[in-house]
């Protein structure tokens, strides 16, 4: 399984954590689609705590963290 952790506004309607069977996602971008998250709504993507790109591969056991853009003042 791949663990997906949502932060801040990305939790709305998705909860804090989701488990996805590893065969359902080859790259982080596939998880965006799986949870209906437009790419522009993810500002920071971590794979196992490392800053990563949406096209980076994901595998069984990975923990993916998704943070929305925060830019107001």
């Amino acid at each position: 399984m791949i663990e997906v952790r949502f932060f801040a506004t990305l939790r709305q309607g998705r909860g804090k954590i989701a488990q996805v069977p590893a065969e359902e996602a080859a790259a982080a971008l596939d998880l965006f689609r799986r949870f209906d998250i437009p790419a522009e709504e993810v500002s920071i993507l971590l794979i196992n705590g490392f800053h990563s790109k949406p096209e980076d591969p994901v595998k069984d056991g990975d923990v993916i963290s998704l943070f929305p853009p925060v830019g107001g003042g």
Partner: protein, 234 residues
């Protein structure tokens, strides 16, 4: 030491307080974050605070912006900041600039600053200011809010941290903000700023993220080491 700064002692040394009195900062934006940043920096006792904002108060600011009040609608935010500064701590040199921070005036506004505090409200202006600070060799204290969320970081000249935070194409979805989010974020920024300006040890390359709805506080290491262009695995 003057009595008004006595309660700084114990948390800061007398030498650190004296050092802060020699420092100059720009607060870019006098809205939600800027109003609180200015208040905190004034009371700490910096040497000079420049505050830039070309905007005027409107009713929708009243839920969170410290400097706003029903009687001040239509008034320049920068001018309101100058009046507050004169009231709270007239010893601090205060330069109010009733202009938005732009590509054209940024070099002039940041010249001679020891640090710049980002209190802007949109991503393009933030990345522009980061670029200008990098070129001028000035540290940028990042802060941003949305709804219940706040984040802060120290961006060192040339470290590319702001570009890491705002991945290309990232867009703000909501303009929501609550009364307690700006002061929380401003407190994080001011603490980082004081540590930096007082010569304390600071950790860079990190983004401090708070989700006050869920009471989650995260530290995200975006850059492994200072200067190392980042964050990619391997």
């Amino acid at each position: 030491m003057e009595e008004r700064y006595i309660r700084n002692l114990g948390a800061l040394t007398e030498a650190e307080c004296a050092l802060l009195r020699e420092k100059t900062v720009l607060v870019a934006g006098c809205g939600g974050l800027g109003g609180y940043l200015i208040e905190m920096l004034l009371r700490l006792g910096l040497g000079e605070i420049r505050a830039a904002d070309g905007d005027c108060f409107e009713a929708s600011n009243l839920n969170r912006q410290l400097l706003s009040a029903p009687g001040l609608l239509g008034k320049s935010k920068a001018e309101a900041a100058a009046e507050r500064a004169a009231l709270v701590n007239p010893e601090v040199r205060f330069v109010a600039v009733p202009e938005f921070v732009t590509e054209e005036n940024a070099d002039r506004l940041i010249r001679g600053c020891d640090a710049v505090l980002d209190a802007l409200d949109n991503i393009p202006s933030r990345t522009m200011l980061a670029k200008k600070c990098a070129e001028a060799g000035i540290p940028l204290i990042h802060g941003a809010i949305c709804g219940w969320s706040a984040q802060a970081a120290i961006a060192l000249p040339g470290d590319g941290l702001i570009e890491q935070i705002y991945r290309s194409g990232a867009a703000l979805k909501s303009k929501a903000s609550l009364s307690f989010t700006p002061p929380f974020c401003a407190a994080l920024q001011t603490a980082l700023c004081v540590r930096l300006l007082a010569g304390r040890e600071v950790e860079t390359g990190k983004l401090y993220v708070a989700d006050l709805l869920n009471m989650d506080l995260e530290t995200i290491a975006l850059l492994p080491d200072r200067g190392r262009p980042a964050g990619e695995r391997g």
